[in-house]
Symmetry: C3
Subunit: 273 residues, 3 copies
C-alpha cells in the first residue's frame, strides 16, 4: 500500500510548509506528500475542524493527515494521534479533531516518546519538529505504540461546534444559523447542514439573512447559474453545508460592506404549504 | 510513459484543490499531479484560456490538463475532452480551451458516460466529482471513447479573444491593444503579441498607454534592468505577449491609482524612420 | 540516492512556478520537486537569502535548490551553481546565496555552457529557461563541469546582511536590531539572532521596540501562550532569529498602524542584576 501524508495548516504561503516537507522526505524519501490546504485563518481551529472532517474521505485509505493549527505550541498541550479505518490524524490536542472523534469509532493516542522528535526542538514550530517526523516514521510502518499511548476520552480537548437551533411555528420551521468561514470566492459557509433540508422540496425553503435592520430573503437553489449575475443564492455546497454566494461575485464582500460577517444571522426557513 | 495530471483552477489557496488531488490519488495512486496554477481570477475564462495555451507545451507529452474555471457548474453545460499530439485537456464547454482548439489539429469529445463520476455527485464541484476522476481513469489508460463521444465543431463554445486592431498611417503603424490580466508582480499582460514586432528593430517601437487625459509614452525594451528603478517599460514577455512593467515596482498599482485597469488602452506604435 | 529539486521564488501563486515544473519534468520525469516557498517579497534578495540559509538543512542530502529572485534577468549577470556537502544551489549572481557562501566551505561555479538552456531563450524568465533545465540535468547526474566553470571568490556578488550593533553600558548591554521580514501571521523577524541571548537567563532580557516617540518594552518568552491574547512578546523563533509577535494577532498590523515597519528599531537589552 502506497502511503500519503496530507498537510493542513494555517501557514499560508510561508516557507514553514516547505521545511515540513524537507523533514518528512529526510526520514522517508518515498512517501508522497499532498497539500490539503494551508489557508486556514490564523488559529481558527473551528474552520480546520470542519475542513478536515469534510475532506479526509476523498483520500486513499492509509493516508496520514498532519493538521497544524497550533496556537498553544510550546506549552504542555499534548500531540494526539487518532486512528480509525485506515486513516491516521496527527494534531495538537486543541479540539481540531473534534468532529473526526465525535463521528467515528476512533482510537486516540498521545505522543509520549520524544525519541523521534527533531533535535534541537524549537519552542514554536512543532509542526516541523514533532508532527512531521512522527508522520514520516508512521508512514514507514513504525507502530503507533512505539511513539504514543492510548488516552482517555476525557483527556481529549473538544471545541464547541455551533449546532443550529430549531424553532417550530404553526406554518413554518426556522433553523438559526451562523457564519462558519468563507472561501476565496467569497462564498459563505454556514453551520446549517444538508440534513435540515429535503432537496425534493427545495422551493419551500429560503434563507433569511439579517444584520442590524437589514434583511435579505434568499431562495435556495442547486447551483450558481440558476440566478442572475450579482444575485444572492443559497445552496447545499459540495461538502454538505448550506452556503451563501453571489453569482459571479463575492457574498463576503457584499455583507462585510454592511457589518462584520460574524454579526449576521443565517436562518433557514421552511414554509409549510 | 509516466503520466502527469496538471491542474489549473480559480480555487486560490482553498482546500478544493486538495480534495481534487485526493480523488485522483484514490483512483490512480501512481499518477503524478502538478499544479500549473490556481490563481486565475474568479470565473475569468479568458485569462485561463491564455495561460493554458501559453503553458501546456512546457509539460511532458502525455500530460493531462484539468482546467476548472466553471461558473456554469451544475447546469447542462458539457464537459469536454480535447486531444492533440499526446496532450489531453479536460474542461467545461465554456470557451476555456478556445485558443487550444483554434490553433491545433484537435479531436474534441464530450463526456457522456456518468459511470466514472464520483457518487454522490455534488451540484457545485464538478472539478472534484467529474473532471478529477475522468483525468485519473484516463491516466490509467482508459480509452476516451469509453467515457466520451466526439462532437461537432459547432457545439464547442468559443470566447472572443480580443485581437489588436491595426491602423496604418503614412509615417507610422498603430496596433490598438487591451489589458488581458496582470501577474503578482503587477506586470500587465496585453493582447498585443510578439508577431507584431520585429525584435531587430526594437528602437522604432513604443507603447502609448492612455486613460482619460493621461498619456504615457513608453520605450520597448528587452528586460527590466534596462530602465531605471520605478521607470515604466514595455517588452515581449516569456510567453510571447507584450507586457508593461515598472522596474522593481508594480505597473498595476501605478495605473489603478489613476483609473480601473480596463479603462486603459495599450497601443503599440511603429515609427517609420 | 533519490534526487529532489527544491524551489524558492518570488513568483507568488502565478503559473510561472507551474511552467518551471513542466520544464523540469520534461527533462527528468523521475526527479521529485518540492516547493520551499514562492512568497518572497518581489525582488527581496535579503529575505530569500535568510530563508534559504535557514531551510536547506531540513532537506535530504543531494537536494538541488533553485532560487529565483532575479530582478537583473536578461542582463549580463551570471547564473551561479554553489556546491557543498551534498547540496547544490542554483541562483543568479546577485547576493541571494551570500549567507550560504559565507558560512560554508563551498565550491562556486558560473554557468557558461548554453547547450542545456531552453530554446528559444526568453529575456525575462531565466528561472524557467536556464535554472530549471540546469537543475533537471544535474538531477540526472550531469557533471557540473560540463555546464559551468569555477569562479573566483571576488566575482561573487554579496549583499549586506545587517549585523546588530552592540553598545555596552555599566548596567546593561544593548544590541541594535532591525526588521528583516514578516510572515503570514504578521510575526516580525529581526536581524537579532539566538547567539546574542542565553536562554537560561531569559528573564534578564527584553526588547525595546521604538518608532518616533512611541516605545514598547517587551518581555522575552519561549512561546506565544506564555502571554495573554493580544499581548506582544519576543522569542527566539524556529530558525534562530529573534521574532516579535502578538499572541493570536498580528504584530505587523499593530506596528504598521503607527508607521512603516522599516521605521522601527528592535533593540535587545540585557539588564545585569
Amino acid at each position: 500500500m502506497k502511503r500519503f501524508i496530507v498537510l493542513l495548516t494555517d501557514f499560508g504561503n510561508d516557507f514553514y510548509v516547505g521545511q515540513m516537507k524537507g523533514v518528512i522526505k529526510n526520514i522517508n524519501e518515498k512517501v508522497e506528500i499532498i497539500d490539503l490546504c494551508h489557508n486556514i485563518q490564523p488559529q481558527n481551529i473551528l474552520q480546520a475542524s470542519v475542513i478536515i472532517d469534510s475532506s479526509y474521505k476523498f483520500f486513499p485509505a492509509g493516508s496520514i493527515f498532519v493538521c497544524v493549527v497550533d496556537p498553544g505550541v510550546g506549552s504542555k498541550r499534548d500531540i494526539l494521534i487518532v486512528r480509525f479505518n485506515k486513516y491516521i490524524f496527527i494534531s495538537p490536542n486543541n479540539g481540531l479533531l473534534t468532529k473526526i472523534i465525535q463521528t467515528n469509532n476512533v482510537e486516540v493516542f498521545k505522543v509520549v516518546n520524544t525519541k523521534y522528535f527533531l533535535k534541537p526542538l524549537s519552542n514554536t514550530f512543532h509542526g516541523r519538529d514533532i508532527m512531521s517526523p512522527i508522520a514520516a516514521y508512521l508512514s514507514k510502518g513504525l507502530d503507533i505504540n512505539k511513539i504514543a499511548t492510548k488516552i482517555d476520552e476525557s483527556s481529549i480537548v473538544k471545541i464547541d461546534i455551533p449546532i443550529p437551533k430549531k424553532r417550530f411555528h404553526k406554518d413554518y420551521e426556522v433553523y438559526i444559523g451562523k457564519y462558519l468561514f468563507h472561501d476565496s470566492f467569497g462564498n459563505i459557509v454556514t453551520n446549517l447542514t444538508d440534513d435540515l433540508i429535503r432537496e425534493s422540496d427545495l422551493d419551500n425553503y429560503f434563507l433569511k439573512i439579517s444584520c442590524k435592520n437589514k434583511i435579505w430573503k434568499i431562495k435556495m437553489k442547486k447551483f450558481y447559474s440558476e440566478v442572475r449575475e450579482k444575485e444572492i443564492l443559497g445552496y447545499v455546497n459540495s461538502f454538505g453545508y448550506i452556503e451563501v454566494a453571489v453569482n459571479k461575485s463575492s457574498a463576503y464582500a457584499l455583507f462585510t460592506s454592511v457589518a462584520p460577517i460574524t454579526k449576521f444571522s443565517f436562518n433557514l426557513i421552511y414554509e409549510k404549504k
